[in-house]
Symmetry: C2
């Protein structure tokens, strides 16, 4: 039923090789015959069969993106950037979403083995050395986004710097009892943000106190970057009553929103009683007036695709590293700078 390259060849009175040359803009074909073949193609409404092409070319024009779905806005925005570039380059995107039942290892294994995609984008997920090596050995292109690993390409955000700036913002505003709510420390971004926080304290001669730091390690389900975790962590600080921190740097906006709920539930005001600064600049942030550190999410997605496709086509061995900076977005939750209606 479907028309094949043989039908076209017959119609045009040429061999199938010639048809192939015509559709692949091979220089090894005369203008004349090419024209004839193209006409036959149009007449028969022929379309090459992608799967057959993939098999013959050993290339699928498809990449995989392995991504955790819990991250809400960050994920959507990143995917938007990825999609845009992917489509520009005429590639296809297979989406693998990691959740409680479907682990990242499953998908890494799958992409590595099935040869259904030419490369993979691993988003916000760590990769262990064993897998990293397997990708390297197989010369299977992979780029990490919002994550990092020494021997692999990666596009990330300078979390340490962002956390430093956030904490510094609080200090600049005059706060000194500054706490931090972080994600699970097994997460690299979480660790870097912790470092940035401590670095800022140190730089401005404020001492770090265990009491003022919660890492949401009790959240086993995910990475701790969720609303409930923020809520619970904040309750911990509020129990300190008069000793409670007057400002807290929260490692993600979604946690910050949970924290804000806890504060309001205690009948306390933001920022008068407790100031809050988040991280991410998710869409919700502007609605609740949350000051935060913005990540250039879309750009990260676009760049990731560019790097991956470059890797696929060039086979170059150099590892690519790019670290974006974050921007401070001042809104209402830190006080001090309130200059709007």
């Amino acid at each position: 039923m479907p028309v094949t390259i043989y039908d076209v060849a017959k119609e045009a009175g040429v061999g199938i090789g010639t048809v192939s040359r015509a559709i692949n803009n091979s220089p090894q074909i005369s203008k004349k015959t090419k024209k004839r073949v193209l006409e036959a193609i149009k007449k028969l409404k022929y379309q090459p069969h992608t799967v057959a092409q993939s098999l013959a070319r050993k290339k699928t024009s498809t990449i995989a993106c392995i991504i955790p779905f819990f991250t809400g806005y960050f994920f959507v925005e990143l995917l938007r950037g990825i999609q845009r570039r992917i489509t520009d380059y005429n590639y296809d995107l297979i989406l693998y979403s990691v959740d409680i039942t479907h682990k990242k290892e499953t998908f890494l294994e799958r992409t590595l083995q099935e040869r259904k995609v030419d490369g993979v984008l691993l988003v916000s997920l760590e990769i262990n050395q064993k897998f990293a090596n397997r990708f390297l050995r197989a010369h299977f292109p992979i780029v990490l986004v919002d994550s990092d690993s020494p021997s692999l390409d990666s596009i990330s955000v300078d979390n340490l710097d962002g956390a430093y700036m956030a904490t510094k913002h609080l200090i600049d505003l005059g706060y000194s009892k500054i706490a931090m709510i972080d994600g699970q420390l097994k997460s690299i971004p979480a660790r870097s943000r912790f470092e940035g926080y401590k670095m800022a304290l140190e730089k401005f001669s404020l001492s770090f106190s265990d009491e003022y730091f919660v890492s949401c390690g009790f959240e086993t389900e995910a990475d701790g970057f969720n609303k409930r975790a923020g809520y619970t962590a904040m309750q911990h600080f509020l129990q300190l009553s008069e000793n409670r921190p007057r400002a807290v740097f929260v490692s993600s906006d979604i946690q910050a929103i949970g924290a804000m709920e806890a504060i309001k539930e205690q009948g306390l005001a933001i920022p008068q009683d407790v100031a809050i600064i988040g991280f991410d600049d998710i869409e919700l942030a502007q609605y609740v007036g949350l000051s935060t550190m913005r990540q250039p999410i879309r750009q990260m997605g676009e760049l990731a695709v560019e790097v991956l496709l470059e890797k696929i086509s060039s086979e170059s061995e150099t590892v690519f590293k790019k670290e974006f900076k974050t921007d401070l977005v001042v809104r209402e939750t830190c006080g001090g700078c309130m200059h709007w209606g």
Copy 2:
């Protein structure tokens, strides 16, 4: 370099057909040889090449999802449902995201021609009869989600009923000057919601007035279901000053949020001066206390996959139609029912 079925056959001392039978759980193979083959497979770390399988089987175990990216939460939630089921069934999902530069027709054409996927999920997008017929003629499975077309499978929401219930809720609360802000009327859901609104007015003997209806038709970029459209539409109503509506049913939460901003900017209070009810129940809704009609988004996604895969495997010709109902979620923007802290 990569190990093929021939290597396994040689290692196990059998023919390639036997190897194929072993990996495809064919009943036509003895336990004994199967065991031997499986061992050889393990020893050589053999993995079937998906692309080759696809070509031979004429089946790709992949489906496409064509979806507009502007819909934010609705989209994420739906995709979550889709992903879950897709993974359960061991299928892959290729994502095509429609935006200003990349039109749905491009992707419909692509899926239809390239034979890279076994079926397609068309989300929140209309399909014209010409394309519908092409899919039908090609026996190419397609299911519409949050959309409809007479001859194709579809999973949608009872927008008319939802709009009716929303409007009725306002009426029950005692409002009579009830306006509506809708998306572009070229959108089917927008039209149905308009019908539901009018039907409720009529049922309770309130008269419909042009002045109290704005369809965001001036928004050319997209479907009008966005924040700015809601903001602008609400400004229109507020210009009526004392004649302004006292309640408005807004066709989507995101527009409702824009409308709420316009109201607050005028120094008016919600719901005291103007009550608002939305549609969708996006995540933001709960943060701003927006009463709204909830759509069972995740379930729609899951069902869509089930229906599509069923269609792919069974070749049945019966068209499947499912219409979910919406649920009223009462929060703070309509007044009357405020019974929480």
